[in-house]
Amino acid sequence: MDLSTLLHPDCTRRAVEVTSKKKALELLGQLAAPRLANASAFDVFESLLSRERLGSTGIGFGIAIPHGRVADGSKPVAILITLADAIDFDSIDNQPVDIIFALLVPESHHEQHLHTLQAVAQRLNDKQCTRAMRDAHDDMALYQAFIRCNS
């Protein structure tokens, strides 16, 4: 799966100001909804939240990869944000999170795209990559930093 076709520059935001995990998920919903045919911002928020209830998607190293399913009718959507101030995310290493990559997958394509998640996790496990992302000056630079990361 080529990650650059999945993530659009419009869905990339740098140094976002959010104060809690819930606020962050709400923001992800707002960013994703315009690109989804049959899902509102609230649907996205609820899907992501119900996944978090099973256990945090914070994989450590300040990174979280929330994911969820949405109604069929559009392509999968990815959102990438970095936060101005790290927030608590109940991560596996207990540390606050400042890089969030969210993936929303239509129900019928659900299984194939779970492998995309693993590719994303692998990419974000690379310290050079996350350093470049944290150092990005604007949204476009963040987008480029992520796309240029080689895994």
Partner: protein, 580 residues
């Protein structure tokens, strides 16, 4: 005077060579104990130095004393938490298993070689104890961790089956020596008496020592010696009263090791050295005592007994002993194979020799050959087997250095941990202020290029720094999770083993199915939580690293709740499917 000098030179040199040899054999993956034994043989009457040593009484004395120290040390290192999954299986192995191994071996020897029953039983009893120290030494030298269900079972088994084998040997020997009529009744009563007395005195001895250590004010360095001396006293008292002294010191060690005594870390450090010294001495002296050319006299009998125990008696005994506990087959295969024989059988074989039983040398020679074969054949293959059976788990995060602050008296023992920062540590690129903690911990500075920076609060940690923190010893895991490097160099790395994502243990399989392709769930398991599903599949003895496949995903137990043993988190890993 010159004679004394000569003996000292000899003893010192042998010890020195053994320790140097340990470094070499570690690199070869060979069991350490084997190299000590061989050095002893090389120094012996038919080796290079041609030392004449033929005194079983001295060897027995040194061997027994060494065993007391080793078992005491083993008891102190047995954590209470391990009992949850392994106590009863291990006790079953140490009782039923030992009796079965002994009986099967004896029956086969009677049948194949036409020896009288008491002699055959004595051979079986002498050889029925296993040695876990050898096993864990090998894992440690390879930086390998295996599943706790297997590790704890082997460990507790070997601690408890030595007393059992010793009791059996002594009883049968006494019976042969006094030409008593052979009676199962006498054996049973004797065994029970030994066990009971051993348990009572050992527990009492442990409690007394803990009480004493809390009240006593002596020089700090005396505590480890006090512990060792108390163990020897408890051993001698129990044996004198007709109980099993070995069981008593093992239990005493266990009570002390789980007491949260402030001096415990110091005691353990010194004990570690003492236990190694004991191992080396014991194997050296046994290597010296043996006459290698005699070993070949009964080679048919020895070889048969060795193969019998490894391939028939032990597997059957393990299978029967573990029957009530339904262990996974991989665990059973491994436990069967790792019935490694250590020094105990050789020392036990001295007992008939001391009692002047007919054919006294026979037992010693057989025991020696069996131990040699076991150490070589099983010792060299067990790391590979553990990997092949999938029993390896990623090593948990831990500090690169630990210094107990045991001279400062606090309610809970404190420690100073040192962590070498790498890019694989979650704390890398962060400063101390940015880290969050679930347990109390304080940073005492950063070492950068050898320079100490106590004023660290805004310093960003980077590759090559060493971070020093103080926390309670019991919180070592919580602290290490944030500061230690997550195994890049290790053979098995956490992410590839557990998967990237984790789920809580108390969610239902149905809920998991909403996000991951777990396939068709059978109606009765849909309402199971992950915990109850694993409990059902692993018969309530779930350990970290246990895996279950569900459709296209693999769930791996990642963390357990320490108190209840329930699953805290499992890792989810997607198995590669054909459509990718």
């Amino acid at each position: 005077m010159t004679e004394i000098n000569g003996i000292m030179l000899l003893m010192g040199a042998l010890l020195l060579i053994s320790i140097l040899a340990a470094a070499v054999s570690n690199r070869l993956g060979a069991p350490l104990l084997l190299s000590f034994l061989i050095i002893g043989m090389l120094a012996g009457e038919e080796g290079v130095l041609r030392i004449q040593f033929n005194n079983p009484t001295v060897a027995f004395f040194i061997g027994s004393l060494a065993l007391v120290i080793i078992l005491f040390d083993g008891g102190m290192r047995t954590h209470k938490e391990r009992f949850r999954v392994a106590l009863w299986p291990a006790i079953s192995l140490a009782t039923v298993g030992v009796a079965l191994t002994c009986a099967i071996t004896a029956a086969a020897v009677v049948w194949l070689f036409d020896l009288p029953w008491p002699i055959a039983l004595l051979i079986g009893a002498i050889l029925s104890s296993t040695d876990a120290a050898a096993v864990f030494g090998i894992f440690q030298s390879q930086n390998m961790r295996i599943k706790q269900r297997v590790a704890a079972t082997l460990e507790i088994e070997s601690g408890t089956n030595d007393p059992m084998a010793i009791i059996l040997t002594m009883t049968v020997t006494a019976m042969i020596a006094t030409a008593q009529e052979f009676s199962w009744w006498v054996i049973t009563v004797d065994v029970l008496q030994q066990l009971l007395l051993g348990l009572v005195v050992g527990w009492f001895g442990g409690r007394t020592f803990v009480y004493m250590a809390r009240k006593l004010t002596v020089q700090f360095s005396f505590f480890p010696l006090l512990a060792a001396a108390s163990a020897v006293v408890v051993f001698a008292l129990t044996s004198g009263a007709g109980g099993s002294g070995y069981l008593a010191v093992y239990l005493m060690g266990f009570v002390i090791g789980n007491s949260r005594l402030p001096q415990l870390m110091h005691i353990l450090q010194v004990q570690d050295g003492l236990a190694w010294l004991s191992q080396i001495m014991m194997f050296l002296i046994l290597g010296l005592l043996v006459t290698p050319s005699h070993l070949m006299e009964h080679w048919q009998l020895s070889l048969t007994v060795a193969l019998l125990m490894i391939f028939i008696a032990r597997p059957i005994a393990v299978w029967v002993s573990l029957l009530p506990f339904t262990f996974p087959w991989r665990d059973q295969v491994f436990i069967s194979w790792v019935g490694l024989r250590g020094a105990v059988p050789i020392i036990l074989a001295l007992y008939p020799w001391l009692m002047n039983i007919e054919n006294q040398q026979l037992f010693f020679d057989i025991a020696f050959v069996v131990v040699l074969i076991s150490l070589i054949l099983q010792g060299w293959t067990l790391a590979g087997l553990a990997r092949w059976l999938g029993l390896e788990v990623p090593p948990s995060a831990e500090p690169d250095g630990r210094m107990p602050l045991d001279r400062v008296s606090s309610k809970d023992p404190l420690e100073l941990f040192a962590f070498n920062m790498t890019e694989r540590s979650p704390a890398c690129d962060h400063s101390w202020n940015e880290l969050r903690w679930s347990v109390p911990v304080e940073c005492v500075g950063v070492l950068r290029a050898g320079e100490w920076y106590p004023n660290h609060s805004s310093l960003r940690f980077s590759d090559g720094d060493t971070l020093m923190v103080v926390a309670k010893a019991q919180h070592v895991d919580d602290v290490s999770r944030v500061l230690a490097a997550g195994g890049q160099r290790q053979t098995l790395n956490s992410t590839s083993f557990f998967g990237d994502f984790s789920l809580r243990g108390d969610v239902t399989l149905e809920a998991v199915a909403a996000f991951y392709p777990v396939g068709q769930l059978p109606a009765e398991s849909a309402h199971h939580t992950i915990t109850s599903y694993f409990d059902q599949k692993f018969y309530r003895r779930v350990v970290v690293g246990d895996q279950l496949k569900l459709g296209g995903v693999q769930l791996t137990v990642r963390e357990l709740d320490e108190q209840s043993g329930a699953i805290a988190t499992v890792g989810v890993k997607l198995l590669s499917t054909s459509n990718n």
